[in-house]
């Protein structure tokens, strides 16, 4: 077996060193200025798939480092920003990024109604784990359910440059929260290669992403109910010499989520339907309209004050009219096997707080189907030649 496949150039080490330097200082809390951060490093192996790397060897490409700050300009005006370094192998683009940087204005803040506006680059606040999906300590699993939190799409779905509004109301029926956002994310060619096809040469542009969600937490109840909607358009403009053609993509998602919290255990579920419409791209006359569906159920059980167990089952089908993927080989001329039409993932995970602000996580996924391995539009049939595959991962987390 090869050694761990992890290489860092001196240029990529420099920002990490600066971040680590910042992380080694304690969380600084001043009246108007607050700093926090996190650092996590792990080992991961995704055998028989391209999820982490193409050779299936164990890898240390499981790094998440971040430092953030909030500066209070006034009681109703703040600036927030977070700088991150991520390395997840094939899962998402590695390197340093501005994770968020926005102005937060609070025009209305009474005991029963709070209204906030966010302008700039903000995180996706609409799904159960979307706003902090890349912060290991806030995630129940090292690898989140891919039906909803598809890692190849992470860089596009994690946030937007634009405007968001959040309104929270305390009413007799409970707490109601509404979130609305409009924006777009710059899409690099590296991101396109993870989402569309490994050999794209042209330019991809997210024209807009428009999202709205509502959450209800009933009074005297430990349940939470949520509904979120997403509408987004993308375009692809081919390079002068390109395998592909100009294309337009529309993604529309409807999702429900639910959570029940007991003192020592918790259940969370999200269920979604996603319409993906493709015009052009593979050949100019192509029009493909497909509805994908996915759901997961995640259970947490606190074994002790310091140890929690997690069980998850995640199910995804790429086309609701062909849940077994049997039409895929026929419509692709034998190019795409049927197991690209679905993905079922059963996972078990345990975490343990080894010291204050230090946590160790260990996780295993058994997976059937390759429907949620990137790229999404033209799948990687060269590496992903197995119907079943698995992932194990170990991660140490520190935060302040």
């Amino acid at each position: 077996m090869k050694l761990l496949s992890y290489r860092l150039s001196s240029s990529s080490l420099k920002p990490i060193a600066l971040m680590v330097l910042a992380l080694t200082t304690h969380s600084a809390v001043a009246e108007d200025w607050t700093w926090h951060g996190f650092l996590s490093q792990g080992l991961i192996q995704a055998r028989d798939s391209n999820f982490v790397n193409n050779d299936g060897d164990a890898s240390a490409r499981l790094t998440e480092i971040g430092v953030n700050s909030v500066y209070k300009i006034d009681n109703d005006l703040k600036v927030s920003g977070q700088l991150m370094y991520l390395n997840g192998g094939n899962r998402f683009v590695d390197g340093v990024r501005i994770d968020y940087l926005f102005l937060n204005w609070t025009p209305y803040n009474t005991l029963d109604w709070q209204l906030d506006l966010y302008l700039g680059r903000f995180k996706n606040m609409h799904w159960a784990y979307s706003s902090t999906r890349d912060v290991a300590l806030t995630r129940p699993l090292i690898v989140l359910p891919q039906s909803v939190y598809f890692d190849s799409f992470r860089d596009i779905a994690v946030g937007s440059d634009g405007l968001a509004v959040r309104s929270t109301h305390n009413l007799a029926i409970g707490e109601l929260e509404f979130i609305w956002s409009w924006g777009a994310t710059p899409v690099s060619r590296d991101m396109s290669r993870r989402v569309i096809s490994t050999d794209v040469l042209g330019e991809t542009d997210q024209k807009f992403v428009h999202q709205a969600s509502a959450y209800w937490r009933p009074s005297e109840s430990q349940m939470q109910w949520g509904l979120s909607l997403l509408d987004s358009d993308f375009s692809y403009r081919k390079a002068e010499l390109d395998h592909y053609f100009d294309g337009d993509f529309t993604v529309q998602r409807t999702m429900f989520n639910w959570r029940y919290s007991a003192e020592h255990w918790e259940l969370t579920s999200e269920i979604m339907q996603e319409r993906v419409n493709v015009k052009g791209f593979i050949f100019p006359q192509l029009v493909r309209n497909q509805f994908a569906q996915g759901t997961f159920l995640l259970a947490r059980f606190d074994w002790s004050e310091f140890t929690s167990w997690y069980l998850s089952y995640d199910y995804f089908i790429a086309n609701k009219d062909d849940p077994s993927g049997s039409q895929l080989p026929l419509t692709s001329g034998g190019f795409i096997p049927s197991y690209f039409g679905y993905q079922r993932d059963a996972a078990i995970s345990v975490d343990h707080e080894v010291a204050e602000n230090f946590r160790l996580k260990l996780e295993y996924h058994w997976i059937e189907g390759t429907g949620r391995l990137g790229p999404n539009v033209v799948p990687d049939v060269v590496v992903n030649q197995h119907r079943t595959h698995d992932i194990w991962a170990l991660q140490l987390l520190y935060w302040f």
């Binding site: 809390v29 607050t34 926090h36 996190f38 971040g66 953030n68 909030v70 009681n75 109703d76 927030s80 920003g81 977070q82 968020y100 926005f102 937060n104 609070t106 803040n109 009474t110 005991l111 029963d112 709070q114 906030d116 966010y118 903000f122 995180k123 606040m125 706003s131 902090t132 912060v135 300590l137 806030t138 959040r166 929270t168 305390n170 409970g174 707490e175 009074s219 005297e220 919290s261 007991a262 003192e263 020592h264 606190d302 074994w303 002790s304 004050e305």
Partner: protein, 131 residues
């Protein structure tokens, strides 16, 4: 040791205390929850709210979370971590024990905290929490 069941009688709900300058006599559980979830950041007169909490594993914090906020401590933790790492808020200030809590709430304008019942209350206001 694993958790299986808790058979203890629930103790009296902790008292919610505020700085003497805060002109609030009562709050609902939902309003108190909004304050401790760091969404409600201003008192009605515009003063910034300064929220103090005890460590997560303190028995008093557990009682306060369950009885006054109607939440479990891990739910509060999750909310604070989400605020902290998405930039949409800042977590409350943690203090070591009840004595420090009393001292800081008494000396910080706009402050809110909680203490055990049966304590002598001076230089502090008690806020009545109603359904």
């Amino acid at each position: 040791m694993p958790f299986f069941a808790r058979t203890q009688e629930p103790p009296s709900a902790p008292l919610v205390i505020v700085h003497s300058s805060v002109n609030i006599k009562q709050l609902s559980h939902a309003q108190l929850r909004s304050i401790y979830m760091m969404r409600q950041v201003l008192w009605p007169d515009g003063t910034a709210i300064k929220v103090f909490v005890l460590p997560n594993r303190s028995e008093l914090h557990l009682q306060f979370s369950r009885q006054q906020l109607q939440l479990f401590p891990y739910q509060l933790d999750r909310v604070w971590q989400k605020l902290t790492y998405s930039g949409t808020g800042t977590p409350p200030t943690e203090v070591a024990d009840s004595a420090k809590m009393r001292e800081l709430v008494a000396s910080t304008p706009g402050a809110i905290g909680y203490i055990e019942t049966g304590n002598e209350i001076t230089e502090l206001q008690i806020v009545l929490i109603q359904p």
